[in-house]
Every structure is written in structure tokens, then in C-alpha cells.
């Protein structure tokens, strides 16, 4: 199975996205797919960080939440126009993520993971404690709808197209990044920082850059979330959510943009189907992380690839021996 060219992939993706709503039995699934798309955007960014650069963030849900709350507060409480609120939210996340990245990524080792874990917990505390600003545990409502060209996006179907257009855009950007000198630099850093530096790659700056980029992608998803659900509460953005995002990338396939996206869709849709999971879901995520790392480090992408090879190999063997002419 040869990978299709980047342009062709995007075209196929766009077609599937365009047609899918027609096939859905009811509106509810549209909501699920919108959330899947939002998770997909975050997973794409997180995959650049984890799968390519080999760094890990346990605080991406916090960036997601920080952006959702920022645009929510600015537009609902302070009546900013929606686009301004969204832009300010992404800008804030950019600044905050850089602030965390500079000290933690300057060092080798696992400092980023701990730094982002701590950051996620802090954001969660602040969202709960700063009641005046965030509404505390009961959340913040009254966030206005997203408007495009002066008209509010009211239907779920329209919002679905908005979100998945953003997914495609992020996918294209991430794809172009991966196939550039920066993408190579990221993969080089993943395997050997020493060798990467010896070739003139500024490993520190590159890692900080990709971390900030991936945080900003989470922020974009956060702003889209806020103006879709129009209500935000801290529970959506806690540690469990960060772990879920990491699991999406690991399950889907680290180092494969398709994989991360697929992981996001699967892990968004699956819990909806398996309602029985409830309290068990976090344990399931933990087990998925461990088992993937042990048996399927390339995630679903590797699994599908292996399966495909198994099938084609069998077909070859089953083919009748050719007659010697």
C-alpha cells in the first residue's frame, strides 16, 4: 500500500468529511463528530510534539481549557467580538506555553512532562478557585456563537463543517511541517539530540517551537469548543482529559499524522458507544498506554499495516504456482 500523495490525501479526506453527515442516523452523532474533530486538532499538534520530537506534554487539556475560558470570558463577560476573543485566547496560550517551554525544554530528560503535568493541575486549580472570573466549579455560560461573515453559525451541520475544515487545515500545515527541514530536525532530535546539535540544529529552539505550535493548535480547538458548546466548566480540562489526549496519539500512532487523527476519532466515538465504561475509562486509557508501548509502539497505524501485510502475504502464498512456460 503506497501512501497517496499529500494533495490526494487531503482531497480524499475532504470528500469523506463532506459526505459523512449524510450517512449519520441522527443529529447526536454530529455532535460526537464535532468533538472528535476538536480532539483531532489537538492530537495533530500533540503528535508533532510526541511522535516527531519525542517530547511529552501532560497538560494539553489545560491549553485547550485556557483558550476556551479566555475567549469565553472575553466574549461573554466583556462582550468582545468573537474573532477578537479567539485571537486573544490563542495569543495568551502562545505566551504561556513559551513560558513553560523555555525552562523545561532547555534541559534534557523528562522535565517537560513534569512541568506540563504541574501546569495542568495549576490551571485546573485556578479555573476552580478564581470564581469571580471563571464561575468556579459551576462553570461559565452565555458564550456567544461563532459568526462567519456576519452570520452566526447556528446549525450543528454548519459547525461540523467549520471544525473539520479547521482539522484539514491543521493537517495540511502539520503535513507540510513534517516534510520540511523542520520535520527532519524534529525526528533527528527524537533519536539523538547530540547528533542533531552536532549538525547545527538548535535543539532547544526547535523543541520550544514545536511545543508552542502544538499548544496553539490545542488553543484553536479550545476556542472552537467554547463557541460551540457555549458553556465551559473545569471538569472538561482536567488531568484525565490530558491523559486522554496522550492516549489518542499513542493508540493512533506516534509519528503518523493520520494515526493521531484516527486515534482521536476512535477514542471520542468509542466511549460514546461503550457507555458502560463510565468510571473504568481512565483505567482503560492507562492499560491502552501500557499495552500499546509494549506490543504496538506504532499504534493503530502499525496494526493496520501489519494486518495488511499478513493478508497480502497470505494471498501471495495462496496464489497458484505459475506454470513454467
Amino acid at each position: 500500500m503506497r501512501p497517496a500523495g499529500p494533495a490526494a490525501t487531503l482531497l480524499i479526506g475532504a470528500t469523506v468529511i463532506a459526505v459523512l453527515p449524510v450517512l449519520l442516523p441522527n443529529e447526536y452523532y454530529l455532535t460526537v463528530l464535532i468533538v472528535a474533530g476538536l480532539n483531532g486538532i489537538i492530537a495533530l499538534g500533540l503528535n508533532l510534539l510526541m511522535g516527531y520530537a519525542g517530547q511529552i506534554s501532560l497538560g494539553h487539556a489545560a491549553f485547550y481549557g485556557l483558550a476556551a475560558y479566555t475567549t469565553g470570558i472575553l466574549t461573554a463577560t466583556y462582550h468582545w467580538p468573537v474573532p477578537a476573543g479567539m485571537a486573544a485566547a490563542v495569543a495568551l496560550v502562545l505566551a504561556v506555553s513559551a513560558l513553560i517551554a523555555v525552562p523545561t525544554l532547555r534541559l534534557k530528560g523528562h522535565y517537560l512532562a513534569m512541568g506540563t503535568l504541574g501546569f495542568g493541575l495549576i490551571v485546573y486549580i485556578v479555573l476552580n478557585e478564581a470564581t469571580g472570573l471563571t464561575g468556579g466549579p459551576s462553570g461559565l455560560g452565555g458564550i456567544p456563537r461563532l459568526s462567519l461573515a456576519g452570520r452566526p453559525v447556528t446549525s450543528d451541520l454548519a459547525y461540523y463543517y467549520v471544525v473539520w475544515a479547521a482539522v484539514l487545515l491543521c493537517f495540511a500545515v502539520a503535513g507540510n511541517l513534517v516534510r520540511s527541514r523542520l520535520g527532519r530536525a524534529l525526528r533527528a532530535i527524537h533519536t539523538s539530540e547530540t547528533a542533531a546539535a552536532a549538525l547545527g540544529i538548535d535543539t532547544e529552539r526547535t523543541k520550544i517551537g514545536v511545543f508552542v505550535l502544538s499548544a496553539c493548535m490545542a488553543a484553536v480547538a479550545g476556542t472552537l469548543y467554547a463557541h460551540y458548546v457555549r458553556f465551559v466548566s473545569p471538569g472538561t480540562f482536567g488531568f484525565a482529559a490530558s491523559v486522554q489526549l496522550v492516549t489518542m496519539v499513542v493508540l493512533g500512532g506516534m509519528g503518523s499524522l493520520w494515526g493521531g487523527l484516527a486515534g482521536a476519532v476512535v477514542l471520542t466515538v468509542l466511549p460514546e458507544v461503550l457507555r458502560a465504561l463510565e468510571d473504568y475509562d481512565i483505567v482503560v486509557y492507562g492499560l491502552l498506554l501500557i499495552l500499546c508501548m509494549m506490543y504496538l509502539p506504532g499504534g493503530l497505524v502499525e496494526g493496520v499495516d501489519r494486518l495488511w501485510r499478513l493478508v497480502t502475504a497470505r494471498r501471495l502464498r495462496l496464489a497458484p504456482p505459475e506454470d513454467p512456460a
Binding site: M50, T104, L107, G115, I282, L289, M293
Partner: protein
């Protein structure tokens, strides 16, 4: 004035447990260069297992403590054998993900088995709280201080005077060379997980009578333990404990003088500031990394 002293005393008590969690990080990091994200879960398990040994089996306190420590140590060894060993030698991120996975599974399982309530353990010894300079000191605080000191002394003896301890230090210094000298590195790694789980569990057990324990205390304890060992210089056991005590005191002062809601933010702020200003820690020295 007596308020201030009170904050310092209770902060130091809680901080000793952060120090023990940090000590656990240090032991595993020294042997393997892995940051074990399940370290906080060891502390949680120590407290919870002791609580439920009493509730379910009606065990007397000393037996419950022993069972909790042994149980957690077993979990630590199992974690190494079943999950860490199979991914050794892969990229650093694979190891982090595995230890995160284990921490989540342990926490989730604890929630399913023990429920979401918070529990308390009876104090180790009865007795009136002592009054020092107007501050109140519960007897359990003396237990915390004593056990922590005991662990430090034991650890020093282990590393200085036993073959196993020296082998662990050798692994920390140069794994390849240690293997060439005939040290069974896999065993050392298992032992480091056992030791670190044991230390963590002890921390959890001695703290449980003072603060409540529940299935989800591990994340915060883990994070604070990590901040403690960065504060003391990663890899330095004594620094870790000292770092934990300092952090506990700062946290308690924040809770008392600023706001209790934000006290958990202290550890994180300290962590980031340290990484900015002094990554080698208060007591650490920057050293070159060998290639």
C-alpha cells in the same frame, strides 16, 4: 508568631512525606534514568492499603503498616518486571508513557476497589499533643520525623556498606561499565523499584493519620515529590528529603498567609523557578554528561 511556628511545624511534617516521595524518584532515577510517574501512586497505595487492611481484615495497626509496605513493594517490583522491563532500551518517551500508564491504572484500580471517599488512619501512638513555643505538635509528627530520619540513615548504610547498595550506585554512575563488572543490571533495576516503592509506601503510611488519604492523592504527592527532588538536586537522596521539607514549609506558609486554595500551586511555581534559575538544585552541582 506562634501561628508562624505552627505553619512551619505542620509544613515540615507534610514536607517530610514529599521528601520520601522525592527519595523514591531519586532511587529509581539513579539506577535507570527513568522518572517514575507512578511514584505518587506508591505513596497513595501505602496509605490506602494500610487503611483497608484495618477495615477489611481487622488487622492491628503494626500488621496493617507492614502489609501495606510489603504490598506496595510487590506492586513496585511487578511494575518493573511486567511493564518497564519490556520497553527498556526504547526511546525515553516510551518509558515515560509506560510509567504514566501504570500510574493511571493504579489510581483507577484504587478508585474501583476502595471507592472515592477519603480515609484516615489511627495515629501510631496515643498521647496529648505537645506544645512548643505556642505551637501544637501532634505525636504523629514525631513519628513522621523519626521514620524519615530512620529511612535516611538506613539508605546511607545501604549505599555505603552493602554490596547491593554499592552496585546500585555503580549502575547510576555508568550502566555499561557496571554490567561489564558483572553486576546484574536487571536485578538492580528491580531492586530500585522495590526500594522506591517501599520508601514511598512508608511515606504514605506515616502521613495518613495526619492528612486524609484517598485514591487520587498520588498525582499531587508525585508532583510535589518530583519538585522536592529537583529542589534538592535530582539524584541526591538527602537533597530530596531536605527539598521536600522546604517545600512543605513554603506550602504551609502559603496556605496560612495567602490562600489555602492556591497552596498546591506552590510546588509547581517552585519547580518552574528552579528549572529556570538553578536546574541542578539547591545542593546539586552541574556536571557534564558523558557521550
Amino acid at each position: 508568631m506562634s501561628d508562624l511556628f505552627q505553619y512551619i511545624l505542620s509544613g515540615a511534617t507534610v514536607g517530610a512525606t514529599y521528601g520520601l516521595a522525592g527519595l523514591g524518584f531519586t532511587v529509581i532515577f539513579n539506577a535507570t534514568e527513568i522518572i517514575n510517574f507512578a511514584q505518587g501512586e506508591f505513596v497513595m497505595l501505602g496509605g490506602m492499603l494500610a487503611v483497608f487492611a484495618i477495615r477489611w481484615a481487622g488487622a492491628p495497626l503494626p500488621a496493617a503498616v507492614l502489609a501495606a509496605v510489603l504490598g506496595t513493594t510487590t506492586v513496585g517490583v511487578a511494575m518493573d518486571r511486567l511493564t518497564v522491563r519490556p520497553v527498556r532500551g526504547r526511546s525515553a518517551i516510551a518509558l515515560i508513557i509506560v510509567t504514566i500508564g501504570v500510574s493511571i491504572v493504579l489510581r483507577g484500580s484504587a478508585m474501583l476497589v476502595f471507592g472515592k471517599d477519603a480515609f484516615s488512619l489511627p495515629a501510631f501512638s496515643a498521647g496529648e499533643p505537645l506544645s512548643i513555643l505556642g505551637a501544637v505538635l501532634v505525636p504523629q509528627s514525631l513519628w513522621v520525623g523519626g521514620v524519615t530520619l530512620g529511612i535516611l540513615v538506613g539508605m546511607k548504610a545501604y549505599f555505603d556498606h552493602t554490596i547491593a547498595g554499592k552496585a546500585m550506585l555503580a549502575c547510576a554512575y555508568d550502566r555499561k561499565a557496571a554490567a561489564l563488572m558483572g553486576i546484574h543490571v536487571e536485578n538492580i533495576v528491580s531492586r530500585s523499584f522495590a526500594l522506591s516503592a517501599m520508601v514511598g509506601a512508608l511515606g504514605g503510611v506515616i502521613l495518613a493519620p495526619i492528612t486524609l488519604t484517598s485514591y487520587d492523592v498520588g498525582i499531587m504527592l508525585g508532583l510535589k515529590g518530583f519538585a522536592a527532588c529537583i529542589l534538592g538536586g535530582l539524584g541526591n537522596p538527602f537533597g530530596a528529603v531536605a527539598g521536600g521539607v522546604i517545600m512543605g514549609v513554603l506550602e504551609s506558609l502559603t496556605a496560612g498567609l495567602v490562600s489555602s486554595g492556591y497552596k498546591d500551586a506552590v510546588a509547581f511555581v517552585i519547580l518552574l523557578l528552579l528549572l529556570f534559575l538553578r536546574p541542578a538544585g539547591l545542593f546539586g552541582r552541574a556536571h557534564a554528561e558523558r557521550v
